[in-house]
Structure formats: structure tokens, C-alpha cells
């Protein structure tokens, strides 16, 4: 894919999804602040709906396709956007999946058309809008060079394990733009977050669990197994030499935070690695205050580390 994206991503429709209004509030705040600082504009999808990630999918996956298609319909038909950005891996995944189904499956097209007519809005058709993640938005909207030139406080001293979670690259077939050679994202070893944080001065560590499942932290929220999976990720990050884990999804982020605390309470194992959204790290590098990027809203207390590194 080449490359009118610098212009195309300057102003995009923004689909925060419901998690960013709850557990992922700091991600919402930092994404918006980073956008402002970089001159990238976000316009909330008008009257957006939840994609119904779990419950609806279990009842009828076609209804979920409809719910995601409605978000895209709003962005394209009500607002005239050609790009919609979703910072949550789940929202991003669901929009991509709906796009794929609408392109390839006649029954999905019929169901979406039928429900859209009943609901009284225009049907979304595959190809009318491009869905991107917050990582794509900054990587292609500004790029590493653009970012470097705007850095006010280098992230030098931040040793980062980049954690993408298990959904950002899966299943491969719904992300036709990935694995397309130089400049594209890799589904086996994603690197966009690594690239952006390196441009802001951070040292990325070699982290073998960057796409490992964290144990469905919100499926098994009080399960020891989930805590053990997260603890293993935290230990691997520390063993890789990281002092911070960067995240790009509210669900993965809160799972790590929640189980870091639980691991200490339940198993008496304390890990010291901090957990921050990549947008928070970028915001700090762009000279924003920790408060502006919502560091105080995280469960993982990273103020000490940020002060030590001259970032707070």
C-alpha cells in the first residue's frame, strides 16, 4: 500500500468503543492528546454503538457483523469519512472481520442489508471505508521521521517490552494489508509499536511474548490460570531487561495491570515492570505532562520510573 496515507490519516473518524469509556479511559485521553500534539484530527463516530464483542457474537455472529457495519455506515454515510480508526484490538478486529465477511459472504450482506433497512440507515458495503488501528494512524499519518522531529523529551532510558496481545494480528486473513513486505505490519512479529517508540528514543527489548495470549483476563477474571499467564508475561518482560511494558489495547492493558496486583496478593510474587499505553509514552516524549496523558488513571504506578527518567 502506498502512500497517500499521510494526507488520508490527517483527519479520521474515531471509534473509541465502550472499553475506552471505562477501563481504558487513559488510553482514550492519551490517544486524543497525542493526536492533537501531532496535528492529527479525530472526529468521534456520530452516535456510535458497541460492537457487542462477546455476548452478541455468541448468540449470532451475523448480528455482530451488523453492529460493526453500522459503525462504518455512520462514519462513511453520516460523516463522509474514508478512514475509521479504532484503538482497541477488539473493536479493530470486529470492524475488520465485518469488512471481510461483507466482502466474501452473501448471507452476511443480506442480513446486514435487512437489519440496516429496518433500523432506517444506509447499508454499509465492503470497501466504502478503511479501518485502521491507532498504531497505523500514527505510523503512517506521521511516520517515524515526523515523530522524531517533534520529540521534546526523549524516551531514552525506557526499556520497552512491546505487548500487542493475541488479537491484533489474528486471524491473518482479515488483515490483507499486513505481511505485504517493507513498511507493512507483520502478523508473526508485529513491530509498529516498536518502531514508533524507538523513534521517540526508547530502547525496545527482544520480547518473545509480544503476541502471547494473556489468559483471557476478562473471561477468567478471577482465575489463577489467567494470573499465571499474565505473571509469565511480566516475568518474561523483566527477564528481557524491560522496565516498562507498552500496550495498545485497553483489554490487554487492564488484564496485565489487574493480574500484576493479583499475582502479588495471591502468589506473593511481585513484579516491578510498569505498564503504560504506547500513546502515553509517545505523549510524554512529545512533552505532554503525565496528567495530560492519564498516567494517574493507570493502576500500575509508574510515576517513580517516569521521574527517574526525567519524564515527569
Amino acid at each position: 500500500m502506498t502512500d497517500n496515507r499521510t494526507d488520508k490519516y490527517k483527519k479520521v473518524a474515531y471509534y473509541p468503543g465502550c472499553a475506552l469509556e471505562g477501563t481504558g479511559h487513559a488510553y482514550n485521553r492519551s490517544t486524543k492528546e497525542v493526536g492533537k500534539a501531532l496535528g492529527l484530527e479525530l472526529e468521534d463516530v456520530k452516535n456510535w454503538n458497541c460492537c457487542g464483542a462477546m455476548e452478541v457474537k455468541n448468540i449470532d455472529p451475523k448480528v455482530q457483523t451488523y453492529l460493526s457495519s453500522r459503525v462504518m455506515s455512520q462514519a462513511v454515510n453520516e460523516m463522509g469519512h474514508s478512514v475509521v480508526m479504532a484503538p482497541c484490538n477488539g473493536c479493530y478486529h470486529n470492524l475488520k472481520k465485518a469488512e471481510y465477511d461483507l466482502k466474501n459472504d452473501e448471507t452476511s450482506r443480506q442480513v446486514v442489508d435487512r437489519i440496516s433497512s429496518k433500523a432506517g440507515h444506509k447499508t454499509y458495503h465492503a470497501g466504502e471505508i478503511e479501518t485502521i488501528h491507532a498504531l497505523d494512524w500514527i505510523k503512517h499519518g506521521i511516520g517515524e521521521e515526523g515523530l522524531k522531529s517533534r520529540v521534546k523529551k526523549s524516551l531514552k532510558g525506557m526499556k520497552v517490552a512491546n505487548y500487542y496481545g493475541c488479537m491484533y494480528t489474528r486471524p491473518r486473513h482479515i488483515f490483507p494489508e499486513k505481511d505485504q513486505g517493507a513498511g507493512s505490519e507483520s502478523t508473526s512479529r508485529p513491530h509498529f509499536m516498536d518502531d514508533l517508540l524507538a523513534a521517540a528514543g526508547a530502547a525496545n527489548v527482544d520480547f518473545p511474548l509480544k503476541t502471547a495470549c494473556c489468559g483471557g483476563a476478562h473471561t477468567l477474571s478471577d482465575s489463577d490460570m489467567s494470573t499465571k499467564l499474565v505473571l509469565n508475561i511480566l516475568k518474561a518482560a523483566e527477564a528481557s531487561g524491560a522496565n516498562v511494558i507498552a500496550t495498545e489495547c485497553p483489554t490487554c492493558h487492564s488484564g496485565l495491570e489487574m493480574h500484576q496486583i493479583r499475582a502479588e496478593k495471591k502468589f506473593g510474587v511481585k513484579t516491578n515492570v510498569k505498564i503504560l499505553y504506547f500513546t502515553q509514552l509517545l505523549g510524554l516524549a512529545l512533552g505532554l505532562t503525565p496528567k495530560k496523558v492519564g498516567v494517574h488513571e493507570n493502576m500500575s504506578d509508574s510515576f517513580g520510573l517516569l521521574e527517574q527518567q526525567g519524564l515527569a
Binding site: G17, C18, A19, E21, G22, T23, G24, C50, A53, M54, E55, C88, N89, G90, H93, N94, C166, M167, R170, P171, S188, R189, P208, L209, K210, T211, A212, C213, G215, G216, A217, H218, T219, L220, S221, S223, M225, S226, K228, L229, N232, I233, K235, A236, A239, S240, P250, T251, S254, G255
Partner: protein, 139 residues
């Protein structure tokens, strides 16, 4: 094949064998045995075939057939193979001890993932954090 409980104890206690290559071999075998448990629990006969030169990857491919959520451990399996290659190709490298420590964490991840999946088949599917919130609102 060792039981899952024995494998869990081994991974928590640390693997100690004579040479780096033997340790790496044992960790790779542990990965294979864990996947064998998963396949057997689903009534399948674990394959002896290899994918990309490794039985572990052959077993993973078999496990993911018909269950895409099992792909949540695909890259973890590949990382185990990658570390195995690093250790066995360059056993004298100064990073070998670190690579083995990492390999053990990677093997542990496969073990925890599969054990978790035996508890909840949903593991490996997206688990939205807004769910709790919405369930509360609905009740």
C-alpha cells in the same frame, strides 16, 4: 508422555540438564507433550508429522484445525522453536543462559495457555474489558 501436573512442576522448579542443547531439547519436548495433552483431550491422535521441520509446529497446526482460537499460541510455539535454534546452533554464545531462561518462560506460557484452555474453551478469543461493565448495566 509426562502428566501435565509433572510438566507444571518441572517448569516451576527449573529444568536442569547436562548441556544447553539437552536443556533446549527438553523444553522443546515439553512443548510437544503439552500440545499432545490438548489433542488427546479433544479425542485426537497427536500427529508425528512436522511442519517447517518441527513436530511442535506440526502439533500446533493439528490443534488449530477447526479451532482458530488455538492460534493464540501459534507465535509462542514459534518462539520456542526460535530459541531452540538459537541455543543449539550457538551453544557457546555468551547469551545462552539468558536464552534458556527465556525459553523456559516461553515453554511455561504454552503450558499455562493449554491448561487454561482446558478450563475455558473461550481462551484465545477476544475478551473485551467492557464486558463486566455491560453485564453490570444489564442486571
Amino acid at each position: 508422555m509426562r502428566s501435565l501436573a509433572t510438566i507444571g512442576e518441572l517448569l516451576e522448579g527449573g529444568i536442569d540438564t547436562a548441556t544447553p542443547a539437552a536443556t533446549a531439547r527438553d523444553l522443546l519436548t515439553i512443548g510437544e507433550e503439552v500440545l499432545e495433552h490438548w489433542l488427546q483431550a479433544r479425542g485426537l491422535k497427536p500427529t508425528a508429522s512436522k511442519a517447517e521441520g518441527f513436530r511442535l509446529l506440526g502439533l500446533h497446526r493439528q490443534g488449530a484445525r477447526g479451532d482458530p482460537s488455538f492460534n493464540a499460541c501459534r507465535e509462542t510455539c514459534r518462539e520456542l522453536v526460535y530459541h531452540y535454534n538459537l541455543v543449539t546452533m550457538e551453544p557457546g554464545d555468551s547469551a545462552t543462559a539468558q536464552r534458556l531462561a527465556m525459553m523456559q518462560l516461553v515453554a511455561s506460557h504454552i503450558y499455562y495457555f493449554v491448561s487454561g484452555k482446558m478450563q475455558s474453551a473461550q481462551l484465545g478469543e477476544f475478551c473485551c474489558s467492557s464486558r463486566d461493565l455491560r453485564l453490570k448495566q444489564a442486571s
